[in-house]
């Protein structure tokens, strides 16, 4: 069903709340001089919570499109809306007691956080190339500014410069791919594009064009998800950006990038066939993406081995995780898609947790270097244990949540008979264990000669750490709802 503009508004309440939130934060920031420091975070938090509440209230079961085919409304959309809003809330809470951001005025930061969340909600659900491009640019433009938020800081500025140059080029390439696709099919609607491709024989010169389209659009999505060979910006930007922003970038826009990748490739370039999808013959794009996935995890893990800066190491680690997540998307099966959603869900908590520990340590130590983490266990056992749990979860050691992500992904890959692909993934996980363990070794085993001074952690940060630890430790016990939820969420709206 295609809903018209006015009918769509009832299903668009979360986005409208975020939009109202942006305006309120901007207004309160310029009008309330003394109070704004306290009011702005509260307004932002309220907008995000309210949007989350209304998202859960909205019925996503009957798959349809909003605004004359611009946005898809299905269970897949519901999953990503909840995911992105939760990520926004956690990052907001994590940014409240961050010394990096405390040095500058934060009014715009909260407005930008709401704007980027709004952009991601739209991006994860777009079913039309115009909507896809506009929302992707909304996310990109706001995150460029968030990265360069520390105006007087040289690193932050350089990171932002690199980010915007890479981003502009890769979205430009994606746009050129879109224009070719429009020329081939005469439509900008994803489902009409699929039908047009099915109707015509994709042979000869058309095959070359479609290959070009796949490569060029992968540049755009690869930039958002930081997949090799479009990852060059990632380590530099993650190192230079304020740590809460880095944590945000490593989770939320990446997830939105995967959502749009699935919508484009599974919705637009393949046809549903029962529990799985078949790619439209002419160009074997899953093979292209499998190659990207293998390169992504291998390069990410190998490059992370030699890093001594925690932020940079976690940047490469997040590149590697993008490779694992991509494994699920390229299988074209329901199980693969479900594994991808499970992985993203556990990745949210473990990666945000790891970055949050880095933020907390920077607050009192002003350093990201690995050797300065020596003796952290004696100074703050709580922090060292928390970091160890996040890292073990990132490796994928059972009882922690990360294990379930890897289990589902490798299980789905083996189900498809791609044994070599699973072996590559498992070998990569082993390589990854080395550098994660290295962080733990520095924190727990190595001590310097100085007498241990206790590390000060604010109560809010302590509470947030516990909040992030709980899912990592307990999810595996209460797994059934997660399993049901993700199994439900793989219903993609497939056109009329």
């Amino acid at each position: 069903m295609n809903l018209g503009n006015l009918d769509s508004l009832t299903f668009f309440v979360p986005e409208l709340i975020l939009l109202g939130g942006i305006l309120l934060v901007v207004i309160s920031d310029i009008s309330l001089k003394g109070w704004r420091v306290r009011i702005n975070p509260l307004l932002t938090l309220a907008a995000l919570l309210l949007a989350l509440f209304y998202t859960l209230q909205t019925d996503h079961g009957s798959a349809m499109t909003l605004f004359e085919g611009m946005l898809a409304l299905d269970n897949f959309a519901l999953y990503f809306k909840v995911f992105l809003l939760v990520a926004g809330i956690l990052v907001l809470l994590g940014s409240l007691h961050s010394e990096e951001l405390a040095a500058v005025h934060q009014g715009e930061f909260h407005a930008l956080l709401l704007a980027v969340t709004l952009g991601m909600l739209l991006m994860a659900n777009s079913a039309h190339l115009v909507m896809l491009y506009l929302s992707l640019e909304l996310v990109s433009l706001t995150s460029y500014v968030m990265v360069g938020y520390l105006r007087s800081d040289r690193l932050s500025n350089e990171a932002s410069m690199k980010y915007i140059l890479f981003g502009a080029v890769s979205t430009g390439a994606m746009l050129y791919g879109f224009s070719l696709l429009y020329g081939m099919t005469g439509s900008l609607d994803l489902f009409a594009i699929r039908d047009a491709l099915l109707a015509q024989e994709v042979v000869g010169f058309n095959q070359v064009t479609l290959l070009l389209v796949v490569v060029l659009t992968t540049a755009g999505f690869g930039f958002k998800t930081a997949a090799v060979p479009f990852h060059f910006w990632c380590p530099d930007v993650y190192t230079g950006a304020p740590t809460p922003v880095t944590a945000f970038l490593s989770v939320a826009p990446k997830a939105a990038g995967f959502a749009i990748l699935v919508r484009f490739f599974l919705g637009g370039l393949s046809q549903p066939a029962g529990e799985q999808w078949e790619f439209i013959s002419g160009i074997d794009w899953p093979l292209v993406l499998i190659a990207v996935s293998v390169m992504t995890m291998t390069l990410g893990n190998v490059a992370a081995l030699t890093q001594n800066n925690l932020k940079r190491m976690l940047a490469y680690s997040s590149i590697a995780h993008a490779g694992y997540i991509l494994m699920g998307a390229v299988l074209l099966t329901g199980a693969g898609l479900k594994a991808m959603l499970v992985y993203l869900f556990v990745y949210l908590f473990m990666n945000l947790g790891a970055f949050f520990v880095v933020t907390v340590i920077f607050n009192s130590e002003k350093t990201f270097e690995l050797q300065d983490y020596n003796g952290m266990f004696r100074r703050s056992p709580f922090l060292a244990v928390a970091m160890s749990i996040f890292l073990l979860s990132l490796i994928g050691i059972p009882p922690f949540a990360g294990f379930m992500g890897k289990l589902y992904i490798f299980g789905a890959v083996i189900d498809q008979g791609l044994y070599w692909f699973a072996v590559v993934g498992a070998l990569n996980a082993a390589v990854a264990a080395f550098y994660y363990m290295r962080i733990m070794k520095h924190m727990i085993l190595e001590n310097d000669d100085r007498p241990p001074t206790p590390l000060r952690i604010s109560t809010l940060n302590r509470a947030l750490l516990v909040l992030l630890l709980v899912p990592n430790v307990l999810l595996i016990v209460f797994w059934a709802p997660i399993d049901r939820w993700t199994a439900n969420s793989i219903t993609l709206f497939g056109g009329l």
């Binding site: 115009v130 491009y133 690193l155 410069m161 502009a168 746009l175 050129y176 429009y182 190192t239």
Partner: protein, 101 residues
């Protein structure tokens, strides 16, 4: 009437020139000019396809959106170039190398 293929040829040339400019220029503002070429090559494609097919004006509408977003993007990019200039006193990208280690 000029054939469609000439438009596509010109847009392919523009795209290549844009990528070439991005890869070879060291001045941040020049790189942004390359980006503009890439965006406009896509615009030319969209408008030409829309004009030469009978599927309505979807493509032309898309091109208008792209022009608007490109303006916003340049505004943000130039602001970032300015702050970088304040810190570094240059817009040469080779000097922005603290992060490369």
């Amino acid at each position: 009437m000029i054939e469609l293929k000439y438009f596509l040829l010109i847009s392919a040339c523009l795209f290549s020139l844009g990528v070439f400019g991005v890869l070879t220029r060291r001045n941040a503002v020049n790189v942004l000019m390359g980006v503009e070429l890439i965006l406009n090559s896509a615009n030319l494609n969209l408008v030409a396809f829309s004009r030469y097919s009978s599927t309505g004006i979807d493509g032309q509408m898309f091109a208008v959106f792209v022009i608007v977003v490109a303006a916003a993007e340049v505004a943000v990019a130039l602001a970032i170039v300015l702050t970088l200039y304040r810190v570094l006193n240059t817009v040469n990208l080779d000097r922005a190398d603290v992060l490369k280690r």
